[in-house]
């Protein structure tokens, strides 16, 4: 493994764990407060400095760590101990395949902003994500609590149901891009296509007409596959078990569901897992549907070519890299905001509604999408040949 990869890995790990996860608690509190017309987190302070409630995450950590760690009577001790870790680790390791930028050459080394640029990146995320089910499922069972059991059963049914739809919704995207590799998808999404190019192909306008070349659209996944973007987001949010899909927690019916018997930092790990998952979902959607690290109509090669005379070859690459990471993170933040918006504006679905949405709406729609996309890809191939 190249040294640069190790640095990238450490940087991303720090970014995810030390920055995003605590900040998410603040974002959630502040955004919900704004949406519900409250003032929001503003009590925690150090020497009177409140910093917009940013001290709260710190207070949370102190509270979680100093709380008594209880293990209920009759619990399966080993599983009770390990379940929170099984729940949180998949979310963290998913970041390994997320491309935060392309490949940059500086001072003779190639720096790739993907820690593990796997040929089957998306499949890896799905495979790892499917393991997270155990973390929630075993938690409820191991605690020797009937509410926990009910939560476990709901978790497993819900996650299995949405895993089916999850994989199938994005098959159309794979067909168009012809790859499962997330960094390749990022590169492909920097390209543009001419919206009215077909007019020229069929000879309906003269070849070389100027305005046809002007109207271009970036080849982002959301442009090519608008419906699957929302279906994929829905399925991922259901996998994450946050409201409106939080029937496994169902405070009003089963108290807290699967993590009812957890206290202190073990409970904290479940919350952390959920928040990290929100970031994973946003990063995955950005990489697959929102063009990754690309700025629309501005290919990265052009940026580097523009900056090279100004800054020199190496610094131009560094600047492009920094820009790429920022563009990527801005898109991620927008998607986090969007998920929070959904989480705080929808009531919890009833259990049968969750199941109906997964099996009767998402699954048939995604299957239909495969057929339609396949036809579209075939037509485009035939026409442009």
């Amino acid at each position: 493994m190249a040294t640069s990869t190790v640095f990238v890995a450490i940087f991303l790990f720090a970014l995810v764990l030390l920055v995003f996860s605590p900040i998410m608690t603040w974002v959630e509190r502040k955004q919900s407060a704004l949406m519900q017309d409250r003032i929001g987190a503003n009590r925690a302070s150090i020497l009177g400095i409140k910093a917009l409630g940013l001290i709260h995450p710190l207070a949370d950590v102190i509270k979680m760590i100093t709380k008594e760690d209880t293990v209920p009577t009759g619990a399966h001790r080993l599983l009770h101990l390990w379940s929170p870790f099984i729940a949180v680790v998949p979310a963290i390791v998913s970041f390994a395949v997320i491309p935060y930028g392309g490949v940059y050459e500086m001072w003779g080394t190639r720096v790739s902003l993907t820690v593990a640029d796997l040929d089957y990146g998306v499949l890896y995320v799905f495979a790892v994500g499917s393991i997270a089910t155990y973390g929630s499922m075993l938690a409820g069972w191991a605690g020797n609590n009937n509410f926990g059991m009910l939560g476990s059963i709901r978790v497993s049914a819900q996650m299995i149901s949405y895993e089916v739809a999850l994989g199938i919704t994005v098959v159309g995207l794979f067909m168009i891009f012809g790859t499962l590799k997330l960094s390749d998808m990022g590169v492909l999404q920097q390209e543009t296509f001419r919206l009215f190019g077909f007019l020229e192909h069929f000879g309906w306008v003269a070849a070389g007409t100027k305005w046809i070349d002007w109207i271009t659209i970036p080849m982002w996944g959301i442009v090519l596959q608008p419906l699957p973007f929302f279906m994929f987001l829905t399925a991922l949010m259901a996998e994450n078990k946050r409201a409106p899909f939080d029937t496994p927690e169902g405070e009003s019916e089963i108290v807290a569901g699967y993590f009812i018997e957890y206290s202190g930092m073990k409970f904290g790990l479940y919350m952390m897992g959920e928040w990290i998952e929100v970031v994973v979902i946003s990063a995955l959607l950005t990489a697959m549907f929102l063009g990754g690290w690309s700025i629309p109509w501005l290919p990265e090669a052009n940026i580097i070519a523009f900056l090279t005379p100004l800054l020199g070859d190496n610094m131009a690459n560094v600047a492009a890299m920094v820009l790429a990471v920022h563009v990527f993170l801005i898109k991620v933040i927008v998607l986090i905001w969007f998920q929070m918006l959904i989480r705080w504006s929808m009531p919890r679905f009833r259990y049968d509604q969750v199941m109906d949405l997964g099996w009767k709406i998402l699954l048939p729609l995604s299957l239909a999408n495969i057929v339609i996309t396949a036809l579209g890809v075939l037509i485009v191939q035939e026409v442009t040949r």
Binding site: L123, Y124, Y134, I153, S156, A157
Partner: protein, 166 residues
């Protein structure tokens, strides 16, 4: 590195497989041993450059099928009886012992005969693209037949599960 990984994964796979059949007291523990065994198998696949198969192994078996096993065990709240029901059936026991002995003999014979050197594989081997091409060109008939079989399975499951259709 590879050899070390191979040994670790193999030992884990065999150990957890024994755990599956050895855990008569608790069906949940059996199922969890099965998960570990699936994990080790997936690792072995990836070690053999069959990454796609390895990940599908994780996704489908570890991530879905065993979850369903656990789901059923939890739903029915099964507690192990400590017996398998085979204790009072000497004929079954004898047949099982014979099959096991035969399989072991076969394995020992094969291992003793030595093996040919591993064939070299190209960089494309085991990638999603290579598997997709193989499945949809050379083996397209098998894929279709398997699809029909699965469809029949789904229809049968619906017919069996639904008391009233329509």
């Amino acid at each position: 590195m590879r050899t070390a990984l191979f040994w670790i994964l193999s030992v884990v796979a065999i150990g957890s497989s024994l755990g599956v059949i050895g855990n008569l007291k608790s069906p949940i523990n059996s199922a969890l041993n099965l998960v570990v065994s699936m994990f080790a198998l997936a690792g072995l696949y990836i070690l053999l450059e069959a990454q796609f198969i390895g990940l599908i192994q994780l996704m489908v078996y570890a991530g879905a099928i065993v979850v369903l096993f656990l789901f059923v065990i939890m739903l029915l709240n099964l507690r192990g009886s400590g017996t398998t029901g085979a204790e009072n059936q000497p004929v079954l026991k004898a047949i099982g012992a014979l099959i096991a002995a035969g399989a072991t003999l076969w394995l020992v014979r094969t291992l003793a005969a030595g093996r040919a050197p591993w064939p070299d594989v190209g960089p494309e081997f085991g990638t999603t693209r290579a598997i997709g091409e193989a499945l949809y060109t050379d083996y397209v008939l098998s894929v279709q037949v398997a699809g029909v079989l699965l469809l029949a399975g789904i229809v049968a499951a619906v017919v069996l599960a639904k008391k009233k259709i329509g």
